[in-house]
């Protein structure tokens, strides 16, 4: 497993405690996850979802078995169509590539469409430091960017902000009149961003998929900013990761059916762009120059290891929206690009147990995530395995280890078990004095134990 380059361990417990005290965040999260969950349920009604997800899962496994082959095939075909394909081994490499390409083209103003991979590699900060002017154009990302914050939900990045807060933010930062009407605010963003698209020197976006046999990049969007970013600026840089390969353009319909339904319950997102190569000289559509960066950042290693199935993930967010932990505390507490069940697993594998093992507490092991995943990522199984790994590698808290050891002993012996019960009862008031927060959450030990009632 990759050792962490970010030494600072995620303080998940502290973060969740703070999130729990933030009532407006909790309400927003609950509302959002409930809404997305219902939409998804509506979306998959009356379609052969089980059959589709099995096919999608099988296909993604075949991709994982030949990651480098599909990467090569994509690169060859995209190059044939005029694109320039780069491979980046890690985050730093990818950042530098992007910075150098922008620099070589003399670009300063950059418009971005939502991309999780660029968040994974902390691209914005790097480009900022190098003097580029980067603007996020997805409405939610834009709000989060001008507020100087980070996304809280992968489908709705500004979910943690109320319309009132957004109204004030726009008023302060953009100098417009205050309004808390979503359509007025949206219209303001449209007006402010339109000239940015037109004057931008370069666009940067991610990809939901890339297609090996046609050398295409595939992008699902709703707002239209993805189309702007990919067709207006003269230079386009697509940053994506190697596991997003699909063997053939003919595989696309399956994922067109699965991804939007699982994410927002839509039959299809408003826009789906399939971009193959750069603009043919003299033609108006598309960028004049297209660069594609295929990021590895530890994925080849994950693909060869026991937890590789996490790489089947198509980032729909469904597992997050059914997760009782995520639905309560929201995305910020995870301190990671990828939150929720898939995020716990992927962050742990990408960043190492040293930094990320506290995230393995972010589960009730209820398994709801595994049930909804459109590509059958065995999330519950992976969570179990990584939690076992955490104990083996010595990252579990000693309290927890001894506690579990003690419980194991007691559960095997009626004598110890009853003694334990009696002790708990006797020492309860003392424990409550010592650690009221923890103990008050637990049920009070009873005199009438189950065994006594039965005998």
């Amino acid at each position: 497993m990759k050792k962490s380059t970010q030494p600072c361990r995620i303080n998940f417990r502290q973060n969740s405690r703070e999130a729990l005290q933030n009532n407006s965040l909790r309400h927003a999260m609950r509302y959002a996850t409930d809404t997305f969950r219902d939409k998804r349920l509506n979306g998959i009604q009356g379609v052969p979802f089980e059959e589709w997800r099995q096919r999608a899962s099988d296909l993604k496994i075949s991709v994982l078995e030949n990651l480098s082959g599909y990467g090569d095939q994509f690169a060859a075909n995209a190059t044939r169509r005029g694109a320039i394909v780069h491979r980046a081994v890690d985050a730093a490499h990818a950042r530098e590539l992007v910075g150098d390409i922008l620099h070589d083209h003399g670009a300063i103003d950059v418009v971005k469409a939502k991309s999780m991979v660029t968040e994974e590699i902390h691209l914005n900060k790097y480009l900022d430091d190098r003097g580029f002017r980067v603007i996020e154009t997805d409405l939610g990302e834009y709000i989060v960017q001008i507020a100087g914050e980070t996304p809280s939900h992968i489908l709705a990045p500004a979910l943690h902000k109320t319309r009132h807060q957004i109204g004030k933010l726009f008023c302060d930062k953009l100098g417009c009149d205050f309004s808390d009407e979503p359509h007025v605010l949206t219209n303001t963003a449209r007006k402010v961003l339109r000239p940015e698209f037109i004057k931008a020197d370069a666009g940067i976006c991610g990809a939901n998929f890339f297609v090996a046999d046609t050398g295409s990049i595939v992008l699902f969007t709703n707002e239209g900013n993805g189309r702007m970013v990919t067709t207006l600026p003269p230079l386009l840089i697509v940053v994506t990761s190697i596991e997003k390969a699909l063997p053939s353009i003919k595989d696309l319909p399956l994922f067109m059916r699965l991804l939007p339904r699982s994410a927002t319950g839509q039959v299809l997102s408003s826009y789906l762009s399939i971009i193959s190569g750069d603009q043919i000289p003299g033609l108006p559509s598309g960028s004049r120059r297209l660069h594609v960066i295929l990021l590895d950042n530890g994925r080849s290693e994950i693909a060869d290891g026991p937890h590789r199935e996490i790489l089947k993930c198509i980032r729909c967010g469904a597992c997050m929206n059914v997760c009782p932990v995520y639905g309560t505390i929201g995305g910020h507490a995870y301190e990671s690009t990828y939150p929720g069940p898939m995020g716990v697993i992927l962050s742990t594998l990408l960043n190492g147990l040293e930094r990320s093992h506290p995230l393995l507490d972010a589960t009730t092991l209820c398994g709801a995530c595994s049930e909804v995943c459109p590509v059958k990522v065995p999330l519950l199984k992976l969570l179990y395995e990584l939690r076992e790994r955490r104990v083996e590698d010595g990252y579990a808290k000693s309290m927890e280890r001894f506690g579990m050891l003690g419980f194991g002993l007691a559960a095997n012996s009626p004598f110890f078990f009853e003694t334990g019960q009696a002790l708990a009862k006797a020492l309860w008031s003392l424990a409550r004095l010592l650690s009221p927060v923890t103990v008050n959450r637990l049920p009070v030990p009873t005199d009438r134990t189950f065994k006594r009632r039965m005998s």
């Binding site: 359509h183 961003l193 707002e223 839509q266 408003s270 750069d278 108006p284 559509s285 598309g286």
Partner: protein, 165 residues
Amino acid sequence: MINKELIRIFMENASKVAAEPFWVTNLSEMNQILAKILENDTAIYCPNTTELEKSVQLDPKQLVDTFMHATATVEEVVAGIAETGSIVVTSANNRAVQVSLLPARHVAILSASNIFETLDDFFNGIGDTIPSNITFITGPSRTADIELTLTIGVHGPEKLFIILV
């Protein structure tokens, strides 16, 4: 032979995603509808290259030569997908895909014979060298980024009309 059932499914699914489909049986009907939809537009762009586009009759005072600052675009689109209610635009034949993006209103003319039943049907007929840009458009542009309130019309068009001929 025009498959009426396919058209019905297409229209139903397009309506579900907030597109506004019309089905006309002749060109004069098409022009009547166009006149009505575009009544208040002051800068309409029409590429005027396909047969159907050439049959578009609008008040010349309403027309403009470029789409950059147009209020509406009228164009023929290459395909419709009944399964999803989507229309498809591509960069083939020198078409700028931005014409369906920048103006706030997009009027798509779709020949009923270009409706595909499923996504697979479309991709199976796509050939080996695909255009550098293929875009599926399924309803107007939308967002729910502010308190999950659905808002139609963000960066792309706020209105999508589809006229089936």
